[in-house]
Amino acid sequence: MIESFGYVLAFLVAGTGFMALVLTLARFIRPNRPNDEKLSTYESGEAPVGNANVRFNPRFYLYALLFVLFEIELILLFPWAVVFGDKQLAAASENWKHFALFEMLIFIGILGLGLAYAWVKGYLEWEKPNIQAEDFKSPVPPKAYEKFN
């Protein structure tokens, strides 16, 4: 089995080689005439303002934290699923599958509780802008839109 990973290496080498070939080949045939205007950062044609490392919504970090939690769950679930589907183990003991499933349900349940907590606390909600009401009278009742938002 371990020699199969030699072919993985072969794939890696072939892929890297392909990309190196394409990039070097392109280097020789394309023009290269840089100037200050071209090399400046693109900001819709205006001169770029300030640092490009802008602040962004901290919610992205919350998602990253939640992700780590659930990724650990997944890492444990992959070997569990393989053992659960194992025919020999199932044949060895009658209650094996019931036990394995119940055990995993407790684990998923605890993590599901965590997700439910984040959900109830509103960590999964994005702040929406407050939209001011207009004078315009639309024939569509505004409540009808709520179904989609």
Binding site: V22, T41, Y42, S44, V82, L101, L115, E125, E146
Partner: protein, 374 residues
């Protein structure tokens, strides 16, 4: 030593063929994407390069090669080059474990129509797809551009969110097969026992996640041109941009192939036994490889079809769907699958779980709609 050498040659040929197939399909996907878009919008589409425009991908490649490639002065040079390369490399690497066909015998050498049959199979695909987010994130960060940075962060956030539901839907498959090897998963589905019949809900979750992982409409927020110009590839030009675009099409094809492998029996097709008896194992296996590629191409078509059918999601809707929709659904799916296997009636349990879910959703919807209107 002699058999090992021929086997090695066979493997080398297979690696080349797999690369050629993925690259060729990806190149022609760009052509068919434009043709299908044109068909759906009642236009002609590309028709100048060659008959019916079939040389269009070549013309595009030449254009990509000839374009000037410059690196913005404030960009981090090496990371800027690494971003698209990593994207492309991860896209190419996933094809290694797809079982394209059963065992064949050509010129006295018996081998599998598969790059590598490793025992971690589907975990390999899953891991490499997870790595793919680095390509986009590095490219977006290294550009030193506000739009690119936002695009990269959106891509990272979206990919990690949908990865979870995708992993959970794969786990339901693994509970049947008891193995991570893609070959074993396909062999368990032979003779029409396709996983789609056992896992209708799992398939829906998987295909939605595949759309999000490939950054395809309706989930193409990272490169949403109405908000972020070009998203993470705003500053890219020439072949580096080409790598990003190409990686997307390769990912589409590979995710189609993975869907076919996991849910639609891989290289199985109706009448496999009959063909194998009539013509022999080898031609049957080659037809099977054709069947797998056909299924994958069908999914590529679905990707394009959806692109011209559905509008783009808003970012909060996207994250909501991932976290409060798909993750609970996929946990429910694992639960239903487990009960189905324990009761010994996986098909009935799968379909019953699906019907129960739809009923529950309809009832929930009715209750909340009445509250909202009143």
């Amino acid at each position: 030593m002699e058999p090992t050498n021929t086997l090695f040659m066979a493997k080398a040929v297979i690696i080349l063929v797999v690369f050629a197939i993925t690259l060729g399909v990806a190149a022609y996907s760009t052509y068919f994407e434009r043709k299908i878009a044109a068909f759906m919008q009642d236009r002609v589409g590309p028709d100048r390069a060659g008959p019916f425009g079939i040389l269009q991908p070549l013309a595009d490649a030449v254009k990509m090669f000839m374009k000037e490639d410059f690196i913005p002065s404030h960009a981090n040079k090496w990371l800027f080059i690494m971003g698209p390369c990593l994207s492309m490399l991860t896209a190419l690497m996933t094809s290694a474990v797809i079982p394209f066909g059963d065992t064949v015998t050509v010129a006295g050498v018996t081998f599998d129509l598969q790059g590598i049959d490793v025992n971690i199979g589907i975990l390999w695909v899953f891991g490499i797809v997870s790595l793919g987010v680095y390509g986009i994130l590095i490219g977006g960060w290294a550009s030193n551009n506000k739009y690119a940075l936002l695009g990269g962060i959106r891509a990272a956030s979206q990919n990690i969110s949908y990865e979870l539901a995708m992993g959970l839907s794969i786990i339901a498959i693994l509970m049947f097969s008891g193995s991570l090897s893609t070959k074993t998963i396909v062999e368990a589905q032979q003779n029409g026992h396709w996983n789609i019949f056992y896992q209708p809900l799992g398939f829906i979750i998987f295909i939605v996640c595949a759309f999000a992982e490939c950054n395809r409409t309706p989930f193409d927020l990272p490169e949403c041109e109405t908000e972020l110009i070009g998203g993470y590839h705003t500053e890219y030009s020439s072949m580096k941009l080409g790598f990003y675009l190409f990686a997307e099409y390769i990912n589409m094809f590979i995710s189609g192939a993975v869907m076919a492998t996991l849910f639609f029996g891989g290289y199985d097709y109706p009448g496999y036994e009959f063909v194998a008896n009539k013509l022999g194992e080898t031609p049957a296996a080659f037809i099977g490889a054709g069947a797998l590629i056909g299924k994958a191409l069908f999914f590529v078509f679905v990707f394009m079809w959806v692109r011209w059918t559905l509008p783009r999601f808003r970012y909060d809707q996207l994250m909501n769907l991932g976290w409060t929709g798909l993750i609970p659904l996929s946990i429910y799916n694992v639960l239903v699958t487990g009960i189905g296997i324990l009761s010994g009636q996986p098909i009935i349990a799968g379909i019953a779980g699906f019907v129960l879910l739809i009923l529950g959703l309809i009832i929930y919807d009715q209750l909340t709609v009445k509250k909202k209107i009143a």
